[in-house]
């Protein structure tokens, strides 16, 4: 390649075409320089720091300021737990564990005293005290524009710091969700930094100061990567890794490849099941497959003031239709077995909160047809059931575009329903459109997800059936079923204030039973979150029921993970160059080929052009 370039140079008549030749000469020299430089240079990094690289194909880090979070900022929130601590955390089983608060006592049902750690320091060296906690909670109480975080303090009436390491909190009513829903989601801000901030929601927070196990180093902008370094003074002990990197991927295929080739050490939040077999076939990759605190449900628009098919407001019809859905089959067809069928409206991942006595409506088309007959919906001459008031059982069955894999599910379901004379058109609807439809109650049925990114408290999952959550636009609540039952509402308020876990569990069980009897939803399944780790390099991901890299549990993962000592050195060189000097040469070769080709083309073009001077 180089010789051909030099031949061309030799053939050129340097006397006549000085300008062009100079350029070609310079180009050729550049190529030679770069090529030789690249083969000699082998990018290296210091051999000692242990870096844990997490690949992430989910919600990305968009902002470093927790006060600017919205509910869609799951990715930003996840990494903020590296830097910021809360009073309490949850462990891998969803149980509350101490964090900045080492212990707490209830003086009375609405007053709690928290004892704080004594030796915590902020990343800038200032000591952490109870004043920081009081400052943070008061900030959130008084600034409603910090909309997301404000939702976690709505039951807190006041907070004081009797001394430097004690915080006393008063709630407006007894609150069962105080620890595992509210406190666990409130990051504690340093008072000495945040008092000088003017506008909390537009504050960039480029250098976030927290008490957490990792210090922020830098990021590449929204959706690229973020670098963290271990906090040597972390009050529960320095993490076992030196550096932590978050790298965002927009393609799950690319992420799987990165894990396989060693460019990342951990991958989350979940892999599509198509990729799982490739992952499990690799010896140095360990797949960690656990249920997430979420579930897919089939919703009937039963709102009396809504615009869905009126037959869906009839409990008998809903029960009949529930007999015409087989969620075990769906778990196989849609998720390849990577989902657990639900029996009730609490996700299986929430363990003991799930009422074990509830059995899902069994799949029985004959019974479904009989129940519809009994409800007065007889088969018409065209094969479609018609009710006594003339309502035909014709409706839409939608899935939001961001859960497009559920389209398979609605296709199956509409197939089953067709056999009993109910026509449901399955379709994928754009998420914005479906949100709007749901907002305005203009839909019939859909499959959607309830997911808790704020912890493992069951409150979210039972709150959506309250009567006050079913309201017309423009102020609907969270209900998308339109269910209205005063008994259920009373039980809801009761469980919210029941601080005795056993008693609360009994109430939650009863509520699940009511929902099941009224067939408000058909709960479908709880999918596994399939994460993966390079088990030849790192170990220590804690066991438990919940996925390690998830809201709440992530903190446990990053403080427990440690390198497998013998692999440290090789892992460093692999990651720094993703290959050996050989690869740099290959790239150099490719670059040289391209540049040389350009040079040759350029030379050929100019040679052809020049004769016009003579003519």
């Amino acid at each position: 390649m180089i010789t051909s370039v030099l031949e061309e140079l030799a053939r050129l008549n340097l006397g006549e075409r000085i300008g062009m030749n100079k350029i070609i000469l310079i180009l050729a020299i550049l190529v030679l320089c770069v090529t030789s430089a690249m083969t000699q240079l082998s990018p290296t990094r210091a051999q000692t720091p242990v870096t844990f690289t997490i690949g992430w194909s989910g919600s990305t880090l968009d902002t470093l300021n927790p006060a600017a979070f919205t509910d869609a900022d799951g990715g930003s929130k996840l990494v903020s737990t590296l830097v910021y601590d809360s009073l309490v955390h949850v462990d891998m089983n969803g149980s509350v564990t101490p964090d900045l608060a080492t212990s707490w006592t209830y003086k009375n049902p609405t007053t709690i005293d928290f004892n704080l750690v004594h030796n915590a320091t902020w990343h800038d060296g200032q000591p952490f005290t109870a004043n920081d906690v009081v400052f943070t909670i008061n900030l959130l109480l008084t600034h409603k524009e910090i909309s997301y975080l404000h939702t976690f303090v709505t039951t807190i009436a006041s907070v004081q710091a009797p001394d430097n390491y004690t915080v006393e909190l008063q709630t407006s009513k007894p609150d069962a969700t105080l620890h595992d829903y509210r406190l666990v989601n409130i990051p504690i801000f340093p008072q000495h930094v945040w008092t000088t901030v003017g506008n909390y929601t537009s504050f960039a927070n480029d250098n976030p100061i927290g008490t957490g196990p990792f210090k922020f180093v830098k990021w590449g902008g929204p959706g690229t990567y973020a670098e963290y370094v271990a906090n040597d003074n972390y009050f529960y002990g320095r993490p076992h890794i030196d550096q932590l990197v978050f790298q965002y991927f927009t393609s799950a295929n690319a992420m799987a490849l990165a894990l396989e080739s060693g460019q990342i050490d951990y991958a989350g939040p979940t892999f599509p099941n198509a990729l799982v077999s490739t992952l499990t076939s690799q010896a140095d990759v360990q797949v960690i497959s656990r249920l997430g605190p979420e579930y897919y449900y089939f919703d009937f628009n039963g709102y009396a003031q809504g615009f869905g098919n009126p037959a869906l407001r009839n409990k008998a019809v809903r029960i009949a239709l529930s007999h015409a859905i087989d969620n075990q089959e769906l778990a196989q067809v849609v998720w390849g077995g990577f989902a657990v069928p639900q029996t009730t409206i609490i996700p299986v991942a929430l363990g003991s909160w799930v009422n074990p006595n509830i059995k899902q409506y069994d799949f029985n088309l004959t019974e479904a047809a009989a129940l519809l007959d009994a409800a007065g919906y007889k088969l018409g001459s065209d094969g479609v059931r018609v009710g006594p008031d003339g309502t035909r059982l014709v409706m839409k069955m939608e899935v939001p575009s961001n859960y497009a894999e559920e389209y398979r599910a609605v296709q199956e379901i509409s197939g089953w329903w067709k056999q009993i004379g109910v026509i449901a058109t399955a379709q994928i609807t754009d998420i914005g459109t479906l949100s709007q439809e749901s907002f305005n109650w203009k839909f019939d049925t859909y499959i959607w997800v309830w997911s808790s990114t704020s912890g493992t408290d069951p409150d979210l999952f039972v709150s959506v059936f309250q009567s006050n959550q079913a309201a017309p636009a423009p102020n609907p609540g969270f209900s998308d079923s339109g269910y209205q039952n005063p008994t259920y509402d009373q039980l809801y308020t009761q469980q919210l204030q029941e601080t005795d876990p056993a008693k609360r569990q009994a109430i939650i069980y009863q509520m699940q039973d009511i929902i099941h009897q009224d067939a408000v939803y058909y709960p479908v399944y709880d999918p596994y979150l399939v994460q993966a780790i390079r088990s030849d390099r790192f170990t220590g991901a804690p066991p438990g029921n919940l996925p390690p890299a998830f809201q709440g549990t992530f903190h446990s993962l990053v403080t427990s993970i440690r390198p497998i000592a013998t692999q440290t050195q090789t892992s460093q060189t692999t990651m720094s160059t993703t290959g050996t000097a050989m690869s740099t040469e290959t790239v150099a070769a490719i670059a040289a080929v391209v540049i040389a080709a350009l040079v040759v083309v350029g030379v050929v073009v100019t040679r052809r052009k020049s004769p016009k001077k003579g003519q």
Partner: protein, 322 residues
Amino acid sequence: MVNLAYFAKKIMGLVFTIFLVLSFNFYLFRILPGNPFTLLFRGAGLSSQAMHDLNVQFGLDKPIWYQYVVYLRNTVVGNLGISYQTRAPVSSLVAFALVNTLILLSVASVISFFVGIFIGIVAAWKRGSKVDVSASATMLVLYSMPTFWLGIILLFAGVIYLHLPVSGMTTILGQTGALPQFIDLLRHMVLPLLTLVLGLTGQYVLVMKSALLDVFTEDYMITARAKGISNRKLLWDHGFRNAILPMMTLVSLNLGISIGGAIQTETIFSWPGMGLLIYRSILARDYPVMQGAFLVVTIAVILANFVTDMLYPLLDPRVNSQ
């Protein structure tokens, strides 16, 4: 000078076009069902009260004409607003993405332009021969391959056999020093570049070839050959320099449009460019980012066309710019 008046008129025309496109975009985005906060409400569990508060905060509760006027006024002074998703200023988001896309796409455009011309010329000159048939067929196949599929194939081959980086623009915690960082960038560019070039070259080859073949049938080509001009002079002086004109139009079209980012390539390789920015902002109904990004794309396309308009008389003296 008379030229100046013509120039000024042209610029006015540009500004008016940009204004029209912006207005149309503004309207178009607003007729998408679901504003960003209903999306958050149902899609991510934002409370209805918070949703209303956010609506007010971002001025979405004002009448549409008011929002429009505010938008125009802000755009003129260069204030592109802040993103609903990240609260970051749109101008910095777009600038960051634009630079990344330009790095990738300008190199890809240049390479595919030259390679495309070269192959196109060879194919036209040797029309009918094995060289032509194989080149044209290969180019057609590459041009019609879905970018996404091509990208994934290259990704697998590149990562497994050549140990190239899987994604992004730089190796995180990477090297210090300008030259190692530059090489690192090159290594990250190889695969997306290859994907883009393989896709883009096809068009240039086909257009170059057909333009040249058209020119070959002209009378002056026969005259020139009769005069005894050598093959090479014929090809370059008479053929190529006339056939290059439609190519320039193609180049300017592509340059303008490609500012919008090669979305598929950027997705596979997680290249943080304009395509990815636009895609994510559409998903989240992030109006300010969408508007900012489309403003940039609009200006790019219009500018590219304008530059071609001005260049054309230089390339082809027959075009009278008056």
